[in-house]
Subunit: 224 residues, 2 copies
DNA sequence: AAAGATAATGGACATCACGTTTAATATCTA
DNA sequence: TAGATATTAAACGTGATGTCCATTATCTTT
C-alpha cells in the first residue's frame, strides 16, 4: 500500500512509472474480463493475477484487496459517465430548458448510450450475480443528478407537490430498473428509444403510459 | 445435504425432528442477527454457528453453505410478502378496481407496511453492504406483480402506449428506490403515506409531482 | 550508454476459513 | 425403555490470503 495514491487513474497516469501503469492496466483489464465471465464473489485473487500475468506480491503493492481493485476500476467507468453528464445537469441548464420548453433536456440518451457502451459490464454487475455496492452507488449517483435537475426546475418557479429528494430517488431506482430490463429483455431498443420510453413513462405517469383513464390528479397532496 | 428438503419452512416444520427444528431456527435467527450487524460478506460461517451455538458439522447437515442458509432464510420473509400480496394482485381484481374507479387498489400500503415490519433487515440487505441477489430478486418479484396488474389494466380496455413489461420493471425499480430512500431518509413518513407518495409520483409523473408545466403528452409514441 | 533508483518477481511462510470425516454422545419418537 | 436419529467435538487436508525477502528486470535521468 505504499504506492497507491488517491488520484483518478487517467489524469495522472503519465506521472506513474511505465511499469506501474502496465501493472495497473493489466490488473484492471483482467478483472473486467473475469467479471463478465463469473460472479465477483467467485473471482479469486489468484485468478486476477494469473489472468493479468502479474505476481501476487505486485498486486499488493498497488491494491489492498480485490474490492479495492474493483472500486478503482469502477471509478474509471463511473468518472466517464460523470464527465459526460457534467455541465449538462446543473440548475442553469435546467432553468434554460424549462424556459424554452425544451423537453429534450429531460429526455437525454447520454445515460443509456453510456450503458450500451459498457453493456457486458453493466449486465453482469447489475445482475443477481453482481455487486450490491455498485448497484446502490449507481442509483445514488443518478438520484443526485436528478435532484439537481429538480431543484433547478423548482427554482424555475414551480411549486413541488412531493419531496424533491423522494422524486429523485424514485426516478433513479426507475432508471436502474429500466436499464436492467433493457440489458436482459429489451435489446431491440436503441439508447435513443430507451431514453424516450423512460422519459415518457416518468414524465407522464403510468396511467398515460398504459392508455388508461387516470381520473384527475389531485391539485394538492394531502398525506393525512 | 441429506436432510434439506425444498419445501417452505413453516409449512412442514412439524414433520421435522424437534432437534432439526431447533437447529434450523437457531441458525436462521443467528444469520438475521448478524446480517444487521455487519455485511453479509464479512459474516463467516464460524460466526453463524457460534452465534447459534451449533457445531459446524451440524450446519453442513442442513445447508450447503452460508448462501444456502441466506436464501432459505430470505424465503421466509419473501413468502410472507408474497402471501400478503396473493389474492390482491390478479387480473380480476385489477379489472374490478378499474371498473369501479378504485384508485386505492393501486395505492396499497401492503408493500411498505411489510418493509416497515422488517425495517432492519431491508435497510441492511438493500444497502451498499447488502446482497446483490436479494436486491435484484425483490425488484424482479415486484415487477412481476406489477406486470400482472398492468395486463389486467390493459385487458380492461385501454391500449398501452409503452411496453407493459418495460413499465413494470421501471416501476419496480422505482419502488426499490423509494423504499431505500425511505429507510435511510424518510423515516418521518408512515407506510400509508409512502404508498400515497409513490402512487402519485408514478401514476401522474414527475411534471405533476414537481408542479411544473408538462406540456401535453403525445397522443401516440413514435420511437423513430 | 551508464548508473542509480525503483518496480516486479518467485518463493517461502504463517494464518485463516472451509468442508469432511470419525467415533462418541445426546435427544428424539414410537 | 429401546432403537433410531441428530448433534457433537476434534482432527484433518485443502486452498486462498496477506506478508516478507533476496534477486532480477526495467525504468528515468544524466
Amino acid at each position: 500500500m505504499n504506492n497507491t495514491g488517491h488520484m483518478s487513474t487517467e489524469s495522472v497516469a503519465e506521472k506513474l512509472d511505465r511499469r506501474q501503469r502496465r501493472t495497473r492496466t493489466a490488473l484492471r483489464k483482467a478483472l473486467m474480463e473475469l467479471i463478465i465471465e463469473k460472479s465477483f464473489d467467485a473471482i479469486t485473487l489468484q485468478d486476477i493475477v494469473d489472468r493479468a500475468d502479474i505476481s501476487r506480491a505486485t498486486f499488493y503493492l498497488h491494491y489492498k484487496d480485490k474490492e479495492d481493485l474493483l472500486f478503482k476500476s469502477m471509478k474509471d467507468i463511473y468518472d466517464e459517465l460523470a464527465s459526460k453528464l457534467h455541465g449538462i445537469h446543473n440548475q442553469d441548464e435546467v432553468q434554460k430548458a424549462v424556459a424554452t420548453g425544451n423537453h429534450d433536456y429531460f429526455c437525454d440518451p447520454t445515460d443509456f448510450q453510456h450503458v450500451a457502451d459498457h453493456a457486458d459490464f453493466y449486465r453482469v454487475v447489475l445482475s443477481e450475480q453482481g455487486v450490491a455496492s455498485f448497484v446502490v452507488q449507481v442509483r445514488k449517483y443518478l438520484a443526485q443528478v436528478m435532484y439537481t435537475d429538480f431543484c433547478g426546475l423548482i427554482e424555475a418557479g414551480s411549486e413541488s407537490r412531493l419531496p424533491a429528494d423522494f422524486v429523485a430517488h424514485t426516478l433513479a431506482g426507475a432508471q436502474v430498473g429500466a436499464i436492467s430490463w433493457w440489458l436482459e429483455h429489451g435489446k431491440e431498443y436503441t439508447p435513443e428509444q430507451m431514453s424516450r420510453l423512460f422519459y415518457y413513462q416518468m414524465a407522464f405517469g403510468f396511467w398515460w403510459a398504459l392508455g388508461a383513464p387516470a381520473g384527475s390528479p389531485p391539485e394538492d397532496v394531502n398525506l393525512d
